[in-house]
């Protein structure tokens, strides 16, 4: 297991399969906590209103219930929600965060309790300063509670399919004449490399004209080091069109390919 520079935790299973977990940073976590704090305060406010009615019968009992409820809600909220939603509170759900075991194992109840109890130290002196600093220093972005409980907070970004129709519409692709080479592209290009080509196309209008030409030139030079199409397929096209063809070959659904 290793922690790389992009703040993600890569777990390698005994079967030799790797999967990555994106670690959540202190700012996102602080926002999630703010939402949770709001939920706790609102719940307590509502309980106080209800207990106000109880106060008509016994003021002492209503006050005692108020003190106990505030304590139970503020400590139990994190424990109960994280246990029930498998590592998520309401704030974490909104920000797509989740608490998981540091080794990718199943989250145990004791881990949830410990990380929530150690908030007492993490929240010192104000606004989670100790926890925030620990989060910045720790290579897995763990606050002290996470460190003791062997947990991490991961972020699951929403993966959206790129709008390929808008990108590739109405353009002739000279690579399509060579299906065996297209198949080889799909085999050799890594997901990260494919993303570079796709993102360059998606964001092409954001670049200065000179930078745009240079960027596509360097991407094409890179891809040409391990893919070579016949000269007639590449000679009359610009570098940008080369990348467009490449992205079309990589992302085009099989059925669409057949129909065209």
């Amino acid at each position: 297991m290793m922690v790389d520079k992009i703040n993600s935790l890569t777990i390698r299973t005994p079967e030799g399969i790797e999967f990555s977990l994106m670690l959540a940073g202190p700012v996102t976590r602080f926002l999630a906590w703010s939402v949770d704090l709001l939920v706790i305060l609102t719940t307590n406010k509502l309980l106080n209103v209800l207990l106000g009615v109880l106060g008509i019968i016994s003021r002492d009992f209503a006050m005692a219930a108020g003190v106990l409820m505030y304590f139970i809600v503020s400590i139990g909220y994190g424990i109960v929600t994280e246990w029930y939603w498998h590592g998520q509170t309401l704030g974490k759900r909104l920000l797509r965060l989740r608490v998981t075991d540091v080794c990718g194992l199943k989250l145990r109840f004791s881990q949830i309790v410990i990380r929530n109890l150690l908030r007492f130290v993490d929240s010192l002196p104000v606004f989670y300063m100790v926890g925030g600093l620990a989060c910045l220093i720790n290579r897995r972005a763990q606050r002290l509670g996470d460190f003791v409980a062997n947990t991490i907070v991961v972020w699951s970004p929403r993966v959206e399919e790129p709008d390929l129709d808008q990108l590739l519409e109405g353009k002739y692709n000279s690579f399509r004449k060579y299906p065996h080479l297209e198949a080889r592209i799909r085999q050799h290009v890594s997901p990260a490399e494919a993303q570079v080509a796709l993102q360059a196309l998606v964001r092409r209008d954001e670049f200065e004209p000179r930078a745009r030409v240079q960027l596509f030139q360097s991407i094409v030079t890179y891809f040409k080091t391990f893919i070579s199409f016949p000269q007639e397929a590449t000679e009359s096209i610009s570098d940008e069109q080369y990348i467009r063809n490449l992205v079309d070959a990589l992302y085009r659904p099989k059925t669409a390919g057949k129909s065209s």
């Binding site: 005692a64 304590f71 075991d101 145990r108 004791s110 410990i114 130290v121 993966v159």
Partner: protein, 367 residues
């Protein structure tokens, strides 16, 4: 290599869905035990999906399927390789009468260290009061303890009205929550390699020692015992137990003489920490009720003998509970010793055999 992605996905999707259904079921019912055949099927599905993930990773254009499979494999991995937490339903009585005292005894050394820290603090507090009585205004955080003990006793005993009338329940709940917060804080201070925990216990000892000496020197021992013992017999040990859990945490962080990694050490103690702190919360719940409803009433309302007798009884029961409750019977202990001895013999025998094999192998290689 995947030639036709659509065909691959449509062929494999049923297996992914089946695995997802098993995982959902296990998540909903943690106590569920799968039969051997279903377990084998679960393992097969996990391995097949892992294989699919490895294959789809080479296919650049399927980020959604890849992310979905990664999430599925991650969940199944956690389920299959997860640390063996015994599936159980809630059993609060068994937990309180067996697990809690057993956990206390398992880490009793940490308890003795905490008790010593508190006693040293108490001796220091007492010493300061003897040497410099004026220092109690600095040492004691509560203003009602700054005056002359005899004056306070006279005032308390002469009081006709019930000071806590109509506020006993809220005072009790305040005490419970405040003391539980202090206990959790004492546990959490274990993060400072136990230094913070010990300072906390020492400081509490200083206050306690100063109060005790102040009242004893003023000749108000019966009042002191009658006032402190009913709730203190549970509350003070509870704070020491919180300190014990802090030192257990500190011990795992430091890891002297332990050959396992920090992560493994922390994983090993996590259940014990939760058990100890939850036990402390239960103790403080009781102490809070006693302090609000019983401790604050003195003679002539309640005779001191009754209060001291009640406190002493609580203390004896607590000691018996922590040292005896949840202990195995003689037969069970003998059986467990026998099994342990058998285990060590087997281990030693296996090691010897392995050593012989290794020696033979190395001499064969030398030849």
């Amino acid at each position: 290599m995947i030639i036709d992605l659509q065909k691959f996905i449509s062929a494999e999707r049923p297996y992914w869905s089946e695995l997802e259904a098993v995982l959902d079921k296990l998540a909903k019912r943690p106590e569920l035990r799968l039969s051997l055949s279903r377990l084998e099927r679960f393992h097969y599905l996990y391995q097949r999906t892992s294989g699919d993930l490895a294959r789809i990773k080479t296919f650049s254009a399927e980020p959604n399927t890849r992310v979905y499979l990664e999430a599925l494999v991650a969940r199944a991995f956690g389920e299959i390789h997860g640390s063996p937490e015994k599936p159980h339903r809630l059993a609060p009585m068994h937990w309180f009468f067996s697990t809690f005292p057993q956990t206390f005894r398992k880490h009793v050394r940490a308890f003795w260290i905490c008790l010593t820290a508190m006693l040293v603090g108490g001796a220091f507090g007492g010493f300061v009061i003897v040497v410099d009585p004026a220092a109690k205004e600095v040492l004691l955080p509560f203003s009602h303890l700054h005056g002359d003990p005899s004056e306070r006793v006279a005032k308390e005993e002469a009081a006709d009205d019930d000071r806590l009338a109509g506020a006993k329940t809220s005072f009790s709940s305040y005490l419970m929550t405040h003391n539980t917060k202090v206990s959790i804080f004492t546990l959490a201070l274990g993060m400072t390699w136990g230094v913070g925990t010990l300072i906390m216990l020492f400081y509490n000892g200083v206050i306690l020692g100063a109060v005790v000496l102040d009242y004893v020197l003023a000749g108000e021992t019966p009042f002191l015992l009658g006032w402190l013992l009913p709730h203190g017999a549970i509350e003070i040990p509870a704070i020491i137990l919180a300190g014990q859990s802090g030192l257990v945490l500190a011990g795992a962080l430091i890891g002297w003489g332990k050959s396992i990694s920090l992560k493994a050490r922390l994983r090993k103690i996590s259940d014990d920490l939760v058990t100890l702190i939850m036990g402390v919360a239960v103790m403080l719940f009781w102490a809070g009720i006693v302090e609000a409803f019983f401790s604050q009433y003195h003679e002539p309302v309640i005779p001191y003998e009754a209060k001291i007798g009640f406190g002493a009884l609580e203390l004896i029961l607590l000691v018996l509970f922590l040292t005896r409750s949840g202990r195995k019977g003689k037969g069970e202990r003998a059986e467990s010793r026998k099994l342990m001895a058998q285990g060590s013999r087997l281990k030693a025998g296996k090691l010897k055999a392995e050593g012989r094999k290794f020696k033979a192998e190395s001499s064969r290689l030398k030849v």
